[in-house]
Subunit: 157 residues, 2 copies
DNA sequence: CTCTTTGCAAACTGTTTGCAATGCC
DNA sequence: GGCATTGCAAACAGTTTGCAAAGAG
């Protein structure tokens, strides 16, 4: 699921129509390195296509998810749904300050399913999330040391 | 953070008042082995205290979280906030069918922070979540094989 | 030409907030 | 008695749904 054209072809072959809106959304998905929310995608697509509606973003993302062409994760900070263009196994780095999520390759040891600590669960996938602060937010926190609102927002989960 | 009395003492020493409502909420938290949502806690507390309000549940849970006495995680299935009476390092088993979350002990190898794949992030904690189907839901799925709605709900993330 | 998609508005869910009445210490 | 807490109602954020108009194939 790399290029826009591949997404378009795949989407079309599964019986869906290609519209300018969907083309623009696919483009943004391909370009994104973070895990955008619907609102994020909307902001970016709007730049070139001001009349697109947020509903169309939601609808399209949901269809992509249902086709298994993207994944979705929940942000812990704001509870919003984030979309992930990758559906293969990989881990996440989550910034507790700006809520940005980026991918990291799974360290080699990460795939082992826990033996019979699995409590009878049938496990189908695992996800490791590392929580911390991204470089930009670390810098910001250093620069603003002592300013109360910043402190509060940083240390509030 | 084991017994109700410990929670009460801790909460009180930090300058908060103890009310019957809070006592009842703490009780439920102590007893829970899953990770209840505010609504779950409300249902359980209501059984013995019918006049308690959902607002009080939310307020109390938020305070506990701010005091670091409980943790919170987001459910991927319904997007709701789930509360975790444990704040130490451990992993989660998540049922994709009923959205129940239970704890598992962290397998020994799990604590290593990824070397310099960490992209400049300052990592403060990690969380491993194993997604799958709990014993009860597996049984349910077997019993109802062939029934469409069940199939749909099972396989829709 | 038909059936899908769009985009508005309204509904909905989970959560938070404002505020008067109540209750803890 | 003073200040924190409760619980109602209303506000909110993120997401979904109903539906008429527009558009893809």
């Amino acid at each position: 699921m790399r290029t826009v054209e591949e997404i378009i072809t795949n989407f079309q072959q599964r019986g869906h129509k290609i519209t300018p809106q969907r083309r623009a959304i696919f483009q943004i998905i391909c370009e994104s390195n973070t895990h955008p929310s619907a609102e994020d995608v909307y902001q970016q697509v709007s730049a070139n296509m001001p009349d697109i509606s947020l509903t169309t973003i939601y609808n399209t993302m949901r269809e992509l998810k249902e086709l298994g062409m993207i994944d979705a994760v929940n942000a812990v900070g704001d509870g919003s749904l984030r979309y992930d263009k990758r559906t293969d196994h990989h881990d996440h780095l989550y910034c507790l300050h700006c809520n940005q999520i980026i991918d990291i390759e799974t360290p080699s040891g990460s795939l082992e399913i826990p033996k019979e600590k699995s409590m009878g669960y049938k496990i189908v996938k695992q996800q490791v999330t590392y929580y911390g602060y991204c470089p930009a937010c670390q810098k910001n926190m250093r620069d603003k040391t002592g300013r109360e609102e910043t402190q509060a927002s940083v240390f509030n989960e």
